[in-house]
């Protein structure tokens, strides 16, 4: 025996110990992995030996390797072996290894229960200690259940060293095995008064944590904790207790009163920042229960923290301030100076915190000043991230709650224009949408906005000159639209028109060019109008000539949208020119093209339009054939239910209260909102009895005021103007007060008396149209986006000229499936194409399968067959995944395929970040002859109500002997039906839907349909993704749902060869298109 031990010891001397291992790793920096793998081999050898010392050494080394990221789970059993050693030295190492390497799914843990129990009851306190420490890291529900009693006993151990560990670990046991809490709690409570401060603090810790999870069970302990709080001097314990009270006060408000004194004392007296911070935080969190004075004290203390040179205190001070801000913005606002100072801090996280605070601090009074400061920071800011953050914050601050704090919109437009000068910002889009929003909703600002936008257009080269500033060219979109739409306000429309038609414009992104072209036409109309009034008719003709000269550039554009608009407008102008040459006055008619004003409309506004008397929207326009009517009594009843007789009254009854409530709330809101302008005179009447709203003075913009103050950035002058304006107002107000004619404004909220001018007294210079009606519902309807998968099966055939005839078109799996389903072999081909392929595919589709195609090009796309299989799910993203199957039908190897699609405004191919809007996507595979493979492309689609085609090209390299570059054009046809998802619907839900009255109707009639009714239905189901709700004889109701949640309901009736389809949908355009597509399907049979 002795010999064996000696031998083991000698062996050990030759083993690597931990230090050797660490040193070795440091010496093998180049081939660390290799070195470690040899070490692991050694360790495996060592673990096989009987000597526990050798094993412990090996386990120790493994623990180190585990930290370096190596998997040591294979040695779990050896770790248990070392843990069970009777010697403390090894046991310690074993438990350390276990606490580092074991987790809940380590299966050997269940072998350790008895060993741990033995260690817990060991006479040596360090054995027990080590076991408790280890257990705290890897305790599982099983271990917790089995050992809870043992640990509970240890809570009353004679040695405080064990007691405190046992108390602390009880928390972990409670988490894993909640049933243990009830029996253990009395003993835990006892420990709150343990003579040893360590044990006491451990008990406080555990109870605090428990109370945070479920405060109400611990209310009874409040007196005990109160005693502890007033007697303890240990900051660690005090922090815990204060936190506990923070959790208890909401349940027992009386505690607040009692606590405030000791808390205030602590805030005043403590030198420990952590304790001070805890007190302040608790008072802030429980501000409803604490008095106002204590809050002021907190704000003062926070100011001291923020003023401290220690970055940490500054940060925490701002963090706590933002919590006060939520409930008491006033008390924070007085520290505006300090918070603005923090914007200069060198620490970005502090600057961001300060920015957050500013958002909540703005008022009508200080908005301009704050934004001015922020603009200064924008200029100074280093790094685009922070600058972009500033930019979005400025816009957030200004636009929050419907521009509530903006009193002068000229100023805001100038700010937006100034922001466009920012180098390299990503937020051009944000600025653009703000410009559009303000110009549309604030009528009074249009003159000014148009002038500014015209300047922007004129200086467009400054924005687009630098490629890095690409993001900013989005504002040109807004500028062009505003100039076009409100062109009557333009001072020099001719100049703007020329700016819009510069050749340089063709370098802008497609969607912007499209807006340019469209708005150039609007401008053209306006110019014609002004020029025709003059006697000089050549001016008007010159303008037309200018259009005719410049537009062809856009007609050639690669962007479809631009091309289409440009060619359309070009033809129009040419026609106008012809008329002009005959001295016909055309201006009025041209203007009629763009007549009418675009107003912001609430999505549900249509509901408010009363149905004219005598108009029954549900009545037949043309009486349906009598025979079918008599036949289809049953299903028709479903449709008829929506008729006013019985359903309407019930419907309104339910809603009347709700509507009234909403109307009341809205009235209140509008009355409170000085910016609200009434939509129609009739509604004005309604509100007239709420005085005040109408009487808010609207200051006319005095355009004689010079808009450009030399030497000042544009927006600055408004700050000055605003001051003057307010002073004037104040003077007027005083006058009024003297006359004691101060009107009490009902419903305008409480008056805050803070200083000479209160928030409410600042009148706006411009009004905003606010569309507040049922805003939240917009989201539901339109932005609920779905992720869908389209399976676009794009089969193409690449072949050499001569060989083409030898190739037969392969039948696709999908087609086969379809065939089986349809059991209509003859017509299969046609339907298939008519489903998705559009006209072209129809043409090609008529070619018999065996016949060669007349291939004239060297390579040719035979036929884009589109099989949509939408797996629409109610998930985020308006994304559509198009799965394309590429099949190589020639004898050559194809590689380097690049897939590209010309984006439209509505649908865009998603490209990886950093690539341009016209870049193609590399297809991630190559195609050997005869092989097919599938690739997926993601498209974002905004509107689904219209079908559309996207043109695309596929470029690839054909490898025969030498490589040649080839190109293949194709079209992706996104039909409206393809946005529908087959959704089952029960007849009662279906009836309810029709009753709701939200759906618009439409109908279509198919003649000469020569097929059994069930085939007809099956065809609609298959091709157009409907499901049958109910079918009775020759009549059926069908339902489908679009990916954006539109309901589409059909009632299909047949008599002889005539099929009539009555349809209802909440989106008439979508419905029209779906019906057209259904019609097309049947016209081809």
């Amino acid at each position: 025996m002795a010999l064996k031990i000696v031998k083991g010891s000698i062996d050990r001397m030759f083993d690597k110990n931990l230090q050797d291992l660490v040193r070795g790793i440091r010496n093998h920096k180049e081939d660390e992995a290799k070195y470690i793998s040899t070490c692991i081999d050694e360790i495996k050898q060592e673990l096989k030996q009987d000597n526990i010392a050798v094993k412990a050494n090996a386990v120790c080394k493994l623990t180190y390797l585990q930290m370096l990221g190596y998997d040591v789970s294979w040695a779990a059993f050896n770790i248990v072996e070392v843990m069970s050693s009777s010697k403390f030295t090894y046991k310690r190492i074993g438990y350390l290894a276990a606490s580092q390497c074991f987790h809940e799914s380590t299966d050997v843990i269940m072998l350790t229960t008895n060993q741990i129990r033995k260690d817990l009851s060991s006479p040596n306190q360090y054995d027990t200690g080590v076991a408790l420490t280890g257990l705290s890291c890897f305790v599982t529900p099983d271990l917790a259940r089995d050992l809870a009693n043992d640990i509970m006993t240890l809570m009353s151990h004679t040695k405080p060293y064990i007691r405190k560990k046992a108390v602390l670990i009880m928390y972990k046991v409670f988490l894993k095995y909640p049933e243990s809490l009830r029996p253990a709690f009395p003993r835990l409570k006892e420990k709150l008064e343990d003579p040893d401060p360590g044990v006491q603090s451990a008990a406080v810790n555990v109870i605090c944590e428990l109370a945070r999870r479920n405060p109400k069970n611990y209310l009874s302990l409040a007196p005990l904790f109160f005693k502890l709080m007033t007697s303890s001097t240990n900051n660690w314990v005090l922090i815990k207790i204060i936190k506990l009270f923070g959790a208890l006060t909401p349940l027992e408000p009386r505690l607040g009163k009692k606590l405030i004194e000791p808390l205030t004392n602590l805030i005043h007296s403590t030198s420990a920042m952590s304790l001070l911070y805890e007190c302040v935080n608790t008072v802030i969190a429980g501000q409803y229960w604490f008095s106002v004075g204590s809050k002021e004290l907190c704000v003062q203390k926070l100011r001291i923290l923020i003023e401290d040179s220690d970055q940490n205190l500054k940060y925490l001070g701002l963090l706590a301030m933002s919590k006060i801000l939520k409930t008491h913005p006033k008390s924070v606002q007085s520290h505006k100076d300090l918070i603005l100072q923090c914007l200069d801090d060198k620490d970005e996280s502090i600057r961001l915190r300060a920015l957050d605070l500013l958002y909540g601090m703005v008022s009508k009074k200080n908005l301009m000043e704050i934004v001015k400061k922020l603009m200064l920071h924008v200029d100074k800011a280093e790094g685009t991230t922070y600058r972009d953050e500033l930019l979005t914050k400025i816009i957030d601050i200004c636009s929050q709650s419907n521009y509530q704090y903006i009193t002068n919109f000229e100023w805001y437009i100038s700010i937006l224009v100034e922001l466009t000068r920012l180098e390299g910002t990503r937020h051009g889009h944000l600025i653009a949408s703000q410009m559009l929003d303000v110009a549309i909703r604030v009528k009074a600002i249009r003159v000014f906005a148009v002038a500014q936008m015209a300047t922007l257009l004129d200086n467009a080269h400054l924005l687009t000159g630098n490629m890095q500033r690409n993001g900013i060219c989005e504002v040109l979109y807004a500028a062009a639209w505003i100039c076009g739409e409100f062109s009557e306000h333009l001072e020099n429309p001719m100049q703007t028109l020329e700016a819009m038609l510069r050749p340089k414009v063709a370098t802008l992104p497609g969607h912007i060019q499209a807006v340019y072209v469209q708005n150039a036409a609007k401008l053209f109309a306006t110019i014609l109008k002004s020029q025709e009034g003059n006697t000089d008719s050549t001016a008007a003709q010159d303008t037309s000539q200018l259009m005719i000269d410049r537009l062809p550039l856009f007609v050639q554009s690669a962007n479809l949208e631009v091309q289409e608009r440009a060619s359309c407008i070009l033809q129009l102008v040419k026609y106008i020119q012809k008329l002009q040459q005959k001295d016909v006055e055309v201006a009025e008619e041209v203007n009629a093209l763009f007549a009418g004003e675009l107003n912001p409309v609430a999505p549900k506004a249509q509901k408010k339009v009363p149905v004219p008397e005598g108009l029954d929207l549900d009545a037949w326009i043309n009486e349906p054939p009598s025979e079918s009517e008599s036949e289809d009594e049953q299903p028709k009843a479903i449709f008829a239910k929506e008729e006013p007789k019985h359903s309407r009254p019930r419907h309104t009854e339910v809603d009347e209260k709700e509507l009234a409530r909403r109307r009341e709330a809205r009235k209140q809101e509008q009355a409170n909102n000085p910016f609200y302008i009434k939509a129609s005179p009739s509604s004005q009447k309604v509100y007239q009895d709420a005085p005040g709203v109408e009487h808010i003075p609207v200051v006319q913009i005095d355009l004689s005021v010079p808009l450009k103050v030399p030497g000042l950035p544009m927006s600055d002058q408004y700050v000055k103007l605003e001051e003057e304006r307010r002073q004037k107002e104040r003077a007027e107000k005083k006058k009024k007060e003297k006359k004691k004619r101060k009107e009490k404004r009902s419903g305008r909220g409480k008056k805050h008396d803070s200083g000479p001018e209160s928030e409410e007294d600042i009148t706006p210079a411009h009004q905003v149209d606010i569309v507040t009606e049922e805003m939240p519902e917009v989201k539901e309807n339109h932005s609920s986006k779905f992720s869908n998968i389209f399976f676009l099966h794009l089969l193409f055939w690449v072949c050499d000229d001569k060989k083409s005839s030898k190739h037969k078109k392969k039948k696709q799996k999908k087609e086969k499936e379809e065939k089986e389903k349809k059991k209509k072999k003859k017509h299969h081909h046609h339907h298939h194409h008519s489903d998705g392929g559009g006209e072209e595919s129809v043409q090609n589709g008529t070619v018999e399968e065996e016949e060669p195609l007349p291939v004239s090009l060297s390579h040719r796309l035979i036929n884009p067959q589109v099989v949509y299989d939408i797996q629409g799910n109610l998930q985020d993203g308006s994304q559509v995944v198009v799965s394309v199957i590429f099949e190589n039908k020639c004898d050559s190897f194809l590689k380097s395929m690049e897939f590209n699609v010309l984006d439209s405004l509505n649908s865009k191919l998603q490209r990886p970040e950093g690539s341009g809007p016209h870049d193609g996507l590399t297809v991630p595979f190559q195609l050997p002859p005869g092989v097919s493979n599938e690739a997926r492309f993601v498209f974002t689609v905004q509107s689904i109500v219209m079908p559309q085609k996207l043109k695309g090209t596929l470029t690839f390299i054909v490898k025969v002997d030498s490589s040649t570059h080839e190109k293949l054009d194709f079209k992706l046809h996104f039909t409206c039906t393809s946005y529908l998802i087959t959704t089952p619907c029960y007849s009662d839900a279906f009836a309810k839907l029709l009753e709701s009255g939200d759906l618009k109707g439409s109908s279509v009639r198919l003649e000469g349909v020569n097929m059994p009714f069930h085939h007809l239905l099956a065809r609609i189901c298959f091709h157009h993704h409907f499901s049958i709700v109910e079918r009775i004889d020759s009549c059926a109701s069908m339902y489908s749902r679009s990916i954006q949640g539109h309901h589409v309901c059909l009632l299909v009736k047949t008599s002889g060869q005539t099929v009539s389809i009555d349809a209802k949908c909440d989106e008439p355009t979508l419905l029209g298109n779906v019906l057209d597509e259904i019609k097309q399907t049947f016209s081809q049979c």
Binding site: V22, G69, T89, L96, Y171, W236, Q311
Partner: protein, 153 residues
Amino acid sequence: MFFSFMLLFSRQGKLRLQKWYVPLSDKEKKKITRELVQTVLARKPKMCSFLEWRDLKIVYKRYASLYFCCAIEDQDNELITLEIIHRYVELLDKYFGSVCELDIIFNFEKAYFILDEFLLGGEAQETSKKNVLKAIEQADLLQEEKILKVYIN
């Protein structure tokens, strides 16, 4: 207050010590470590010691070439966490006698033992430095006695 985990890593991003008080798989641990080390090292020296990360708050402090980094929950006190970190550094300093990174590398198990006497399950168990060191010394003594015994036998 219970910590979620504590990490020690060098300026080069090498992990020197890790203690997890929440059960996580090795994969998750590695991912979190990598992410945090990168985030913390990317911060400038003058920046404050706190950052919000996922739903946790990270408190870190640099001592010489080592970063000490703790994860606490939303309602926890950042300043007391900094104090705990500091207390641990003081303990290491006392134990090793002006501690340096190499001490922790070569005696990493000792660094763990000290941490385990100071924190248990992520909670400070002993606020007195003296008591912690006493416990460690006695345990060490026990260990050395046993090693001696082995050699004598």
